[in-house]
Symmetry: C2
Subunit: 408 residues, 2 copies
């Protein structure tokens, strides 16, 4: 008998038939004697439809308060329908919206952060044997304005609710059945992991893996919520995301991931003086542009080259900003390269195993893949390579670290 | 400079193009220096779509709490879109849902009654020059459950908000441009009324005219809210629904209306004893079946016939109930007739003009239309006739009372 939070994503509730399947799964968990809180996304495609409508209505400058009021309807539809289906099956079930639970957020519309969750309404309902179905992705600010949490926000809702309720664990049902050593669509030898640490999951998420939202993993890690990533379309065992343990350290590398969404910007021949980097990057951060990898080569005759990566979609804005900034810093020119990708290996084991980086570089070199940029963290190494080698690099590294084989 | 509540129905907000038209109309009212509160319905067809979904999900027995949570999303979509459109046009505008205004209702889900409306949030926004856009049809009960007000509930929302805010008047924009002497689709000589009393409007609504929801007129009458019925598709003058005045009394009859939705039930040869009527009608009211006209003929040798009308959709239930009840009351049999319609004339002037009823009966008789039942109120006379004569009867009565001509 446990308290379980189950989150189902958009493809799991895409239509009434699938919602009925979710209901069966929820009912089974309840029948086993557990208290169940369900968190739902909107039907697949619905949020995108509403976002298009918002952009059309507002000539692409939606008031974000109204945008949130509009797009939060998607989850309101799925939670009330699931409650009706469960009621018709003879179960006590009730839907709760953000304002009804009192999922309190800041007022950063469209990307709000959860500040606090009242547990009173939910725990009362649970104590009466009711299955509680909470709308994901939404909350309210202190003035009762509806807010939303940004892309993938339902994962965050689920983990936050699990943390607030001190649930035994949180199941994240999605359209993949776990966390793999790499994307199975890229390499068929990809292997599903039984367990992965929060830390690795965070690095994988930031390196481009899309299984779990980054903030959801952060929250899970902060509050030590065990998270199972599972598929709602089968009964396969999923992947447990949890605290690091000795088993995990045996795995030098847990996963390989790639991100084709980056572009490389090189500022050539800038005077190597204090304050130059700030001059270059402050205008970018002011516009909300996230800079990922940054490298600066050794200075030669008082000048250096500075290279960094940004998201491909930000390239036009960076060009515009650097038209003036580059002149001010006396850089000789700025070069853009969008034909790149970032390839990363992640693993807790790197902390205690030497030679991981050189093994990565050698493997890439053997197949003639040139490395343009390198960045490392304690448990991740990322390389920028030519985009056309992306899939080859994934396979090469997967083989080099023997990821298809499970460690004992 | 006035405070005006404007309500737009489903056909007026059926798509983004029409919502833009609504925005222009609202903006014009605001530009003229008025404070504006807008109340919206869901896009035409959307509420029906959601109701079908609820029935499908729940195998036709939706939990009404969840039903309300689901169908209230329709209005949430239109109010946020209108706010976005107005914002993009450069106007301050904000949407408010039932729980945000605090439109407090009882907890009779799917047919809730408004108990109280907080005016604080709305008046604050108005004082800052903001156009306030309120979701019609919805409220919340004291436990923050979402409630809805039943069919046509947005009219009620608008009038209730106008009453709470002490607005100067309430515009109801709909797909007809006013109140007519009869349905223009039935008789092309139908004339639009400039003014009509609350009382007449109530009788017309209960007699089958569908321009304004009955409860909205009741509220308007109780709080003396002047209501203009107008079209959102043209700039024609509408009809003012207001307190009775001396002008109105000149009109003997203001309108003719028909209702094909009734069925006649005759309980034949029941013992004429005290308590029989109660025995017959209590089981009907227990099941929520509304009985409209009731007549009982003179008793003959201790037995009488009792005839009444109910909505056609209730006939199967009435049959089922009377299978046993008729036996208990020793009635010899029960006859049902669904091929009937109710035709009514309504007019404040009846109070002071004699001979209205006989003029009605003579006109019908002249064209061979047989009257099966008659009921009268102070300002309305209704007759049940054979259904096939409905349209003929409307034209005959419209001519008999010269409704095509305006009184001076």
């Amino acid at each position: 008998m446990a308290l379980i939070v189950q989150k189902y994503g958009g493809t799991s509730v895409a239509d009434l038939g699938r919602i009925r399947n979710v209901a069966k799964r929820v009912a089974k968990t309840r029948d086993a004697g557990n208290d169940v809180v369900v968190v739902l996304s909107a039907m697949a495609g619905e949020t995108d439809r509403l976002i298009r409508l918002a952009h059309e209505a507002s000539l692409n400058t939606p008031s974000l308060r109204e945008y949130d009021a509009l797009i939060s309807t998607g989850e309101q539809v799925t939670v009330s329908i699931l409650a009706m289906v469960l009621n018709a099956m003879g179960y006590r079930a009730m839907s709760l919206l953000g304002f009804q639970v009192r999922i309190m957020t800041d007022n950063a519309h469209s990307m709000a952060r959860i500040m606090n969750i009242d547990t009173g309404v939910v725990t009362n309902a649970l104590s009466e044997g009711t299955i509680v179905i909470v709308a994901g992705f939404q909350g309210v600010d202190e003035n009762s304005n509806i807010t939303t949490l940004g892309r993938g926000g339902s994962d965050t809702s689920a983990v936050a609710i699990a943390a607030a309720l001190k649930a035994d664990w949180c199941d994240i049902y999605t359209d993949v059945d776990g966390v793999y050593t790499t994307d199975p669509n890229v390499y068929k030898k990809a292997r599903k992991l039984k367990k992965i640490s929060y830390e690795e999951m965070l690095e994988l998420a930031s390196a481009g893996a899309k299984v779990l939202q980054h903030r959801a993993v952060e929250l899970a890690s902060n509050f030590r919520v065990p998270v199972y990533v599972k598929s709602s379309f089968n009964d396969d065992e999923g992947t447990l995301v949890t605290v690091e343990d000795s088993d995990m350290e045996k795995e030098v590398v847990s996963g390989v991931t790639c991100d084709k969404n980056q572009a490389k910007v090189m500022v050539v021949h800038v005077p190597d003086k204090p304050g130059i980097a700030a001059k270059l990057f402050t205008p970018l951060s002011d516009r909300g542009i996230i800079v990922d990898m940054i490298i600066q080569n050794a200075s030669y005759e008082g000048f250096a080259d500075l290279t960094f990566t940004v998201s491909k979609k930000d390239v036009p804005q960076v060009r515009e900003i650097f038209d003036t900034v580059a002149r001010e810093t006396q850089a000789s020119r700025v070069e853009f390269d969008e034909n790149i990708s970032k390839i990363s290996i992640v693993g807790i084991g790197m902390k205690s195993h030497a030679g991981v980086a050189s093994r990565m570089f050698s493997a890439l070199a053997r197949d003639g893949i040139n490395i343009m940029m390198i960045s490392t963290s304690e448990i991740k190494i990322s390389c920028v390579i030519e985009e056309k080698y992306t899939e080859l690099a994934v396979r090469v590294l997967h083989d080099a670290f023997k990821l298809e084989k499970e460690r004992k």
